[in-house]
Amino acid sequence: MHEEDFRHITNNSTQEERNRFFKELQEDSVEWTRWQHLKNLNFLMSLGKAKTSDSFKQERLNDFWQKTDAAKSTRIKSIIPMVMRYAAIVVIAVMSGVFMNKYFLTQESSHNNLVSALSFEADHGSIATVKLNDGSVIWLNSDSKLSIGENEDGTTVAKLDGEALFELVPNEDRKFEVDVKDLRIRDIGTSFNVRAYAKDRIIQTALIDGVVDILQQNGTRLVSLNPGEIANFNKKARTLDVAKIDLEMVTGWKDGKFVFIGKTLDEITVELENWYNVDIEFENSKMKKEVYSCNIRRTSTVKSVMEMLKYSTGIEYEIMEDTTGKEKIMIK
């Protein structure tokens, strides 16, 4: 045994040196075993200095929850949802819409009673995709719920609370509708995005390609959308506008971006709260009403997004931790 060979089991030599060492060691079974004990001893002795930095661990922990949450939504029967995750880098863009039409609606409740519906959910901070048997794909944004079933007429109905992008394979034999309480959106072989979180004041339907009809709950057709158009339904005023939209801004969330089009800081923070499961508060509530448009990549930490927001909007913020360890962000 050569004493200087200790370097090889403490990983202090080059790969080439170690290759030579272990090849030689293999010839002598007694030495081979004895060195294994030494390797283990070295491991035990070095445990005391086995310390990574808190920030390194925290990053691994964040990464861990992301992966875990992503893996979670793989538990549905005949339809296989996969969850995608995104990271890093930030881009900013600005968009505006041009108003074309205005419609006024009366209040009505849902007409659709579903038979044997399947339910899907994308949790805080995750995006889920639901694949239908015919190859159609539905993307579910963070904190959204979708249940799919058939109503009495045999129409496939997707009840949505949240935001989803539908990429439906054209199918003459199937009638497909999205039901968002106030409205129904009837598909005619299309890709379209529906944003209808219960807490949002506006339901947005944007058409990417194909045709969709927007219906009142009683089935009366309000409008047919053309590709590149967005229908904004104001739940309180019960009005419907149709405007042109940059589709990149509508579908950006699917590609891992936060997209805010003419949103108040209040609305922006609600979305960040959903994604990161943090509370965001305002020191000065006047700021809530400030309007911004931006397109930000969903980064792995809420801090980097806040940094980006700070950079693009000039807001100041502080991240605080409450007694349970939950993070809270104060916008100043």
Partner: protein, 190 residues
């Protein structure tokens, strides 16, 4: 130490305590035997993920320390086995080292026993080392100095440092042999 009932109910805060408590040692275990940071990280994450997914199967008396250690160790062994095979087929000599690491890791026990007296036993063994060996050993372990740095600091040759380290470790190996194959002892050496 950890509230298993809370973890079973899906309390993330409690699980994070477990994660932060054991991450370092598990990561170190992987790193020592796999020599690959990326893989080490992956395997540790995978072990924690399995624990989280199977949290409902935990029992109040489950020793999370042992469980996580065993799960991580098995992942390392599987990786080393696959890596060894792949390298051997590729004609890469490194496969012998992977085989060596596999066998060494396999010799470590399946339990991580935490008994405080072992800390004293190890310290006593270190105290019994001749002063010049102890000096080199402590500099290497506690100050994480490379042999070259130790040699410079003590104004001796690298060969001498290696010789002293070698003697010290050999002595400790004999002195602690009863514990080596029984268990890996975590937190004890800190």
């Amino acid at each position: 130490m950890f509230d298993i009932e809370l973890i079973q109910k899906g309390n993330r805060k409690e699980f994070e305590k477990v994660y932060l408590e054991f991450f370092d040692v598990l990561y170190h275990l992987c790193l020592q035997y796999l020599q690959n940071e990326k893989v080490a990280e992956e395997l540790v994450q995978d072990a924690f993920m399995k624990l989280w997914i199977k949290r409902a199967d935990l029992k109040a008396e489950t020793n999370l320390r042992n469980l996580l250690y065993t799960m991580t160790k098995h992942r390392c062994l599987n990786y080393l086995r696959d890596e060894q095979t792949a390298l051997q087929h590729a004609g890469n000599l490194r496969h012998i080292e992977m085989q060596f690491n596999y066998e060494a890791l396999n010799r470590l026990g399946n339990e991580m026993i935490e008994f405080k007296e072992l800390q004293d036993i190890i310290q006593q063994a270190i105290d019994k080392l001749p002063p010049e060996q102890r000096e080199v050993f402590m500099m290497s372990r506690d100050e994480e100095l490379k042999y070259r740095e130790i040699a410079e600091r003590l104004d001796i040759s690298v060969k001498t440092v290696e010789a002293r380290m070698s003697k010290a470790l050999n002595y400790l190996r004999v002195e602690l042999k009863d514990y080596l194959h029984i268990a890996v002892v975590l937190s004890v050496l800190q």
